[in-house]
């Protein structure tokens, strides 16, 4: 079970800035461990964000994204009290979904 994300969503006018911090190893699959064996790739491949259940962002990520990635985006028309959901799926099929309320 993956660790939770930290999601902050702040409304200013008709725009809401969403900042997401995800806890993930994001192993690129190129590194070798102390024994000389390749550390298997393990990274987030799909990211989706929803506003009150309606998809507003989908992204395809690769191994070049950093460990514990930070994602920031702006949602138009989201108001205080709305729900922003973010979910990711990694190349092992593991998923995590978290939700935050716009403030």
């Amino acid at each position: 079970m993956a660790d939770p994300m930290r999601i902050r969503a702040q409304a200013a006018g008709d725009k809401t800035t969403v900042r997401v911090l995800m806890a993930h190893e994001m192993e690129g699959g190129q590194r070798k461990d102390a024994a000389g064996k390749i550390v298997p790739a393990w990274y987030i491949q799909e990211v989706t964000a929803t506003h009150n259940g309606k998809p507003v962002l989908t992204a395809e990520w690769g191994p070049a994204v950093s460990k514990n990635p930070f994602l920031q985006f702006v949602v138009k028309g989201a108001k205080a009290g709305d729900k922003i959901g973010v979910s990711w799926k990694d190349n092992r099929g593991d998923t995590r979904t978290d939700e935050a309320t716009v403030s």
């Binding site: 660790d3 930290r6 911090l21 950093s66 514990n68 930070f70």
Partner: protein, 268 residues
Amino acid sequence: MRMTKPLVVAALLFPVGGGAWAQKNAAVQSIEEYRAMLQDGNPADLFEAKGEGLWTQKRGPKNASLEKCDLGKGPGVYKGVFVELPKYFADTGRVQDLESRLLTCMETLQGLDAAAIAKTPFGRGEQNNMTALATWIAAESKGMKFNLPQSHAQEKVFYQVGKRLFFQRGGPHDFSCASCHGEDDKRIRLQDLPNLTKNPGDGVGFAAWPAYRVSNGQMWGMQQRLNDCYRQQRFPYPGFGSDATIALGVYLGVNSQGSASAAPAIKR
């Protein structure tokens, strides 16, 4: 002829000196911009959240939480304790820093094996939990000013021991902490080194750790910071929660008196 020589020297010196100064300023400024960009998404938040969960989670052979842990302000108090550590604890009869005190609580309250945890390398097993707990407790004192007690005789002894250790040269490079941290405006590559023999100011040095290191994606507590300083000096591993590292903590912490804590910070 005699009159012109000093003039030529002066003309040569000034542009060179000025150029180096401007260059360094630009480098420092761009690093600060980079840090400001990172500040918004400090992954230390993730460790904070984990530490907060661990505090109340029942764990160990005694199946107990850490909620009765006394970090210096009474059992269960975690706000504001970080800026008053290391300090003397009467129950253990030792001066302890945050991490060694947490270790005491993990042993006495939860029944975990403190010696085994102290021997675990950083970033593995229980040491990960230790770092997360230290990160969260430090974060609960963010912005508060350091005010380490120096009333107990042991605390005064630890300050003096820490000071001696700070200046003690040794190892294959004949290094001391003061070799790098004893003067203003020193750096390793592009990292500015604070002068730790005096108060380095708000959020610098002792007031910045635990910190998340972007370059290796690791969260480091003060124990790991000091351990790595000793590794860089080619000293042997000082031991987790050893009196030597705590004495250095007392020296650095007392020197930082009145400075605000920025921990958990974010580093390159």
